[in-house]
Structure formats: C-alpha cells, structure tokens
C-alpha cells in the first residue's frame, strides 16, 4: 500500500491536571472523510518489548483530531505517541510526536474552592479532581498569618471541616493540589475569607 496521504502534522499534547490529550492538524482530502488511528509506546515497550507500539482502540479510525490518552499514560515514564491517516484504501505514514511525553510535565491548576462559615464552623468545599489528587489547605485568622494552620485532604468528601471560629475576626483559607504519582503541587488558589456570625454564612 503506497502512502498516498501525508502523515498528520502538528502532533502535540495538551495535559492539564493529569488529563492528557493528543491533538494534530487535520489531513485535508477534498470530498473524502479522513480517519485517524493512534498508538502509544511506553519506556517499557522501547526497552524491553522490541519497541512495540500499542493501539488505542477508542482512537482507531476516528474522524476527530484529538484523542484522550489519559488511561494509557499511567506511569511516570517517557511515552512516544503516533498518529496516521486513512482514506478508503489509502493510508499515510505515521506521524510521531516530537520528543517524548512524561506526565510529570502536566500543568497543575489551583483547585476550585468554596469557603463556608456555618455558624462558628469553618468549612471548605473542594473540587473533586480525581483519585490522583490530594489537597493542602491553609487557614488562619486574618492578621495572624504567622499562625497559619495546615490540613492535608487525601480524599475529597463533600465538605471538609477546618476549625471552630470565634465570633468577630475574619478567617482566611487557600488551597493547592498535590499529585503523589508525580510528586508535584499546584500553586495556591485565591484566598477566601469569611467571618462567623451566629450561624449565618457571611461572605466578605
């Protein structure tokens, strides 16, 4: 089968918060539907399994130019990725991602967070970002940053109780994510402050 089609170009990875997507530019063939297939190769395959490639069946003969590779990028090693195009009986050569992809380079964003004053109780609601994520929550009485307290949240339940508050002062909270698998943390979220007032939630 001669390679009638050009190989897909501009192959790149979009990786945020341990979700990884492979994208590429479409191959244009007038009046035809071009389909794409994606394969990956981990460091194990390169070093111990004759440089074999593994197809991702969810991205076999697809028309989209994006493939969710999150489930297959499941180790902190260097991965190779490639894409080829098909039209009818025509098939392109493989287009390969330039360089390797290691999930350690994923970009980590601060968590979405909602701080609640429930009477005299300081609570925080954290975004569920998946099992790979833990959270580090810092909280303090406004003006007493030196006495900041820290709570590590390993599993996101609906609401996390931080502390009992005194009436009057503001209590401030900020949070960051931590991913053990890659041993990295996000930057901190914006600080949010609340004040306890006899059982009514008050936003500042």
């Amino acid at each position: 089968e001669d390679a009638l089609l050009p190989a897909p170009q501009n192959i790149s990875i979009l990786s945020t918060n341990m979700k990884h997507f492979l994208t590429w530019s479409p191959v244009i063939v007038q009046g035809e539907t071009v389909r794409y297939s994606v394969e990956f190769q981990g460091e194990y395959e390169r070093e111990y399994a004759n440089e074999s490639w593994i197809p991702i069946c969810e991205c076999s003969l697809i028309t989209a130019t994006v493939c969710n590779i999150t489930d297959d990028i499941s180790a902190t090693v260097a991965y190779n990725l490639r894409v080829r195009a098909d039209v009818g009986v025509g098939r392109s050569e493989w287009g390969t991602l330039e360089g390797f992809f290691n999930r350690i380079t994923t970009s980590l964003t601060p968590p979405l967070m909602k701080v609640i004053a429930d009477g005299y109780h300081l609570l925080v609601e954290l975004e569920d970002m998946g099992p790979a994520f833990q959270f580090c929550v810092l909280y303090w009485k406004k003006g007493q940053e030196s006495r900041m307290q820290r709570k590590v949240v390993k599993e996101v339940s609906s609401v996390v109780h931080l502390d009992a508050m005194e009436a009057g002062p503001d209590y401030c909270v900020k949070a960051q994510t931590y991913v053990e698998a890659i041993n990295r943390s996000s930057s901190f979220s914006q600080t949010q402050c609340v004040r306890a007032q006899g059982g009514r939630s008050v936003w500042l």
């Binding site: 981990g42 194990y44 111990y48 197809p55 489930d71 499941s74 180790a75 090693v77």
Partner: protein
C-alpha cells in the same frame, strides 16, 4: 505508583487468572509464602522481584485482547518507574541482600523455570496481588 499498579491489575485480574489452568502450583508462594521474609531482606526481595517482572514476565504476557494488553503496558511501565527508584536504593546500599533473600528469590526462579515460559509468565502476572499485598503489609 503501587496504587496505580493495583488498580491496573484489578482491572484484568479475573481475565489473567482465567488463563492460568495450573491451580496446584504457585510462583511466589511455594513452598513458603513471601510473608516469611525478614524485614531486613524486604527491600532486596522487592528489588529482585521488580527486576524479575520487568525482565522476564511482562514480555511473555501478550494476549489477543487489546484492553488487557493496554493494562499490562500500564503495569509494566509503572513497574519500570518503581524499579528505577528501587535501583537507586540498591546503589546507595540501602537495600542489602542477605542469604535469606537470595535463597527465596532463587526458589521463585526455580518455580518460574519449572513451567513453559508463557504459562509461567501468565501465572506470575496472575499472582501480582500476592506481591502487592505483601508489599503493602510490609510498609
């Protein structure tokens, strides 16, 4: 991480164990289960076993099932990542190998080489939870 290895294995455990017809033999547990390992030998046995799986087992576990093959790849690449860290411990002499661990690991190899390579590899993969349970208990 070991958690990811565990979840990858759990996804294919039934499938892999169903491919192992030899119920009366064990690679990791015969004659003594791993649990009889002194704490001083644990790191070395773990290091040996990760090398064993990466060097000998995974490459002989290819199946006709694409999903299973992808999960085996995930496990193998996670093993490679952990193997590297264990290798660093070994190089820094923090993972000493005594006679006990050498003897135990030799027994595992004898068990492995007592079967044909594909059966031995599939059986070893099917016994991964024995290794993972032992590692988590010894933490």
């Amino acid at each position: 991480s070991v958690t990811e290895i565990r979840s990858g294995f759990t996804a294919i455990k039934a499938n892999i164990q169903a491919r192992d017809p030899i119920r009366t033999l064990s690679i990791l547990s015969y004659p003594h289960s791993l649990h009889r390992v002194k704490s001083s030998d644990r790191c070395c046995i773990t290091h040996h076993l990760f090398n064993f799986y990466v060097d000998k087992v995974f490459k002989h576990c290819k199946t006709e099932d694409s999903y299973v093959n992808r999960k085996i790849s995930s496990i193998a690449n996670s093993f490679l990542s952990v193997k590297r860290k264990l290798g660093q411990c070994h190089e820094q002499n923090k993972c000493m190998c005594g006679q006990e661990s050498a003897k135990k690991f030799k027994q595992i190899l004898v068990n492995y080489e007592g079967l044909n390579v594909t059966s031995a590899a599939i059986k070893s993969l099917g016994e991964l939870d024995i290794l993972l349970d032992w590692m988590e208990k010894s933490r």
